[in-house]
């Protein structure tokens, strides 16, 4: 699993509340990614980071922000959660090659 952990693993929250998901890696990889997975859509890139304080938007970034203040942590924040953000969220890192290694996922339910 390339030393990737995600927290929390499950979360239920209410519409309008802020939510922060954490991705932690232990192997000093430069690239980190946040995806969401929904039925019929596969995985879609939300944001990614190519270094500390260096981030960029992905395909579905609206309503999400990220921060990376240190190499090992990549945070995904939903400033004001909506029901459309109910999903499974995966963090990934890119190894020295070009493949990605994924965390176990976080199931988020927004009521």
């Amino acid at each position: 699993d390339a030393g990737i952990t995600q927290s929390p693993r499950h979360k239920v929250t209410e519409t309008g509340t802020p939510v922060t998901l954490r991705c932690h890696q232990t192997e000093n990889h430069r690239y980190m990614y946040w995806y969401r997975q929904d039925p019929g859509h596969g995985l879609r890139l939300i944001h990614y980071s190519y270094g500390v304080k260096d981030t960029d938007k992905g395909e579905v970034s609206d309503g999400y922000s990220v921060s990376r203040s240190k190499t090992e942590d990549f945070l995904l924040t939903l400033e004001s959660a909506t029901s459309s953000q109910t999903s499974v969220y995966f963090c990934a890192i890119r190894s020295t090659g070009e493949t990605q290694y994924f965390g176990p996922g976080t199931r988020l339910l927004v009521l």
């Binding site: 990614y33 995806y35 596969g42 995985l43 879609r44 990614y48 395909e59 890119r94 996922g105």
Partner: protein
């Protein structure tokens, strides 16, 4: 929009049979990768094929790439019940760092005894 589209969406076969999944994509690529996802788990990388390669093997996996048709196929030979999973293709574009992957919608494979 999705770069890769897998076909079929779902596939059910018996143990010992071969399983073939196809992926089509839209833009020029640097490489194409296949991933497996077991139910409730994260994705696991299976194999990477570069744009200048036509075929690649890894154990019971065989991947082909046809850049003229913008398509790839994944063949799993002599399938086992443990191969039951969803399979995704992902493309890395050729615009520079190839740091981003675009995933398809996946093929759900069911292997029965």
């Amino acid at each position: 929009s999705q770069q890769g589209e897998e076909d079929p969406q779902a596939l059910s076969i018996q143990e010992g049979e071969n399983a073939t999944m196809n992926c089509s994509y839209k833009t020029s690529i640097n490489n194409l990768q296949w991933y497996r996802q077991n139910s409730g788990r994260g994705l696991v990388h299976l194999i990477l094929i570069r744009s200048n390669e036509r075929e690649k093997h890894s154990g019971r996996l065989r991947v082909t790439l046809d850049t003229s048709k913008k398509s790839s196929s994944l063949l799993i030979t002599a399938s086992r019940a443990a191969d039951t999973a969803s399979y995704f293709c992902a493309t890395a574009d050729d615009t520079g760092t190839a740091s981003k992957l675009t995933f398809g919608t996946g093929t759900r494979l069911q292997v029965t005894l």
